[in-house]
């Protein structure tokens, strides 16, 4: 495998990068900038407010852990998916919208690139981490999940750990696992 590519460096994606730092080379993709409200529950610091999330996260990983992370300051679209995702990679979808999730799913299935989707419910008391083959994106009509509230941080970290477990199971044993996650339980299938 060439790289673990994490698409989206928000509350979930930023913690996936943190947790996966010893699993393999990482590339993180995000076009968004860090806002003050993000630092409560995302792995971004106050000193980096205003900076691109991917670039800032790569810098922190280098400074704090000595881990090189490739950063792509870009919004994933049909016309750049080939350049950003193609290769001997493992894709982790941590985006927040139906269009991006659909694009990642269809692209990775068409190219036979291993890919998992990490998705949270609006109330952030449920998440699922699902391989592309069995994944159907849900519509965005249940209320925006908040990333300002630090109270959800333990759950984001928990889901990030599940993501890394699934990556490891695939890389180490070739096992394909999916997981349904609540703050109190994990259901593997």
């Amino acid at each position: 495998m060439s790289h673990i590519i994490v698409v989206g460096a928000g509350a979930l994606g930023s913690h996936v990068v943190l947790a996966a730092r010893n699993v393999g080379p990482i590339t993180v993709i995000d076009f968004d900038r860090i806002e003050m409200k993000n630092v409560q529950a995302q792995f971004h610091g106050k000193m980096n407010v205003g900076q691109n999330k991917a670039v800032s996260l790569a810098r922190i990983m280098q400074q704090v852990f000595g881990v090189k992370v490739e950063a792509r300051s870009a919004q994933l679209r049909e016309d750049n998916a080939e350049a950003l995702l193609t290769g001997d990679n493992f894709i982790v979808d941590c985006t927040d919208n139906l269009a991006a999730r659909t694009l990642i799913r269809e692209f990775t299935l068409a190219k036979n690139i291993p890919c998992i989707h990490a998705c949270l419910a609006g109330d952030t008391e449920y998440a699922r981490v699902v391989w592309s083959k069995g994944f159907t994106p849900d519509r965005e009509d249940t209320g925006q999940a908040t990333c300002e509230d630090s109270g959800h941080l333990p759950f984001y970290v928990m889901v990030s750990s599940v993501v890394v477990s699934i990556i490891r199971a695939y890389l180490d044993q070739g096992t394909v696992q999916n997981c349904s996650v609540t703050p109190k339980s994990l259901f593997w299938f």
């Binding site: 989206g8 509350a11 994606g13 927040d96 109330d123 994106p137 965005e140 609540t182």
Partner: protein, 82 residues
């Protein structure tokens, strides 16, 4: 084919005490699950007389070598939290 019915509600995850038909319509599955939570018939999920599964999603997983057929009732998950 019979299936295990799993439901996630208010951060808890539980199983309906009986198996149900794998091919039931989504609306029927949601109705069974909702009534299961309201009546306390869902092991692992605290009884909630006001439970409402409007907008919940029904996922179906066929039997595998390691798991029986499962119907999973869960909240929608549109977000990765940007």
């Amino acid at each position: 084919m019979e299936a295990r019915l799993k439901v996630t509600w208010n951060g808890s995850d539980g199983d309906y005490k009986d198996t149900i038909d794998f091919d039931l319509e989504d609306a029927t599955v949601l109705s069974i699950a909702e009534e299961g939570i309201r009546s306390g018939y869902m092991e692992g999920v605290p009884q909630d007389e006001n439970a409402s599964l409007t907008d919940f999603v029904v996922d179906r997983m066929r039997e595998t070598t390691s798991l029986p057929a499962i119907i999973l009732v869960r909240p929608k998950t549109p977000y990765g939290v940007q």
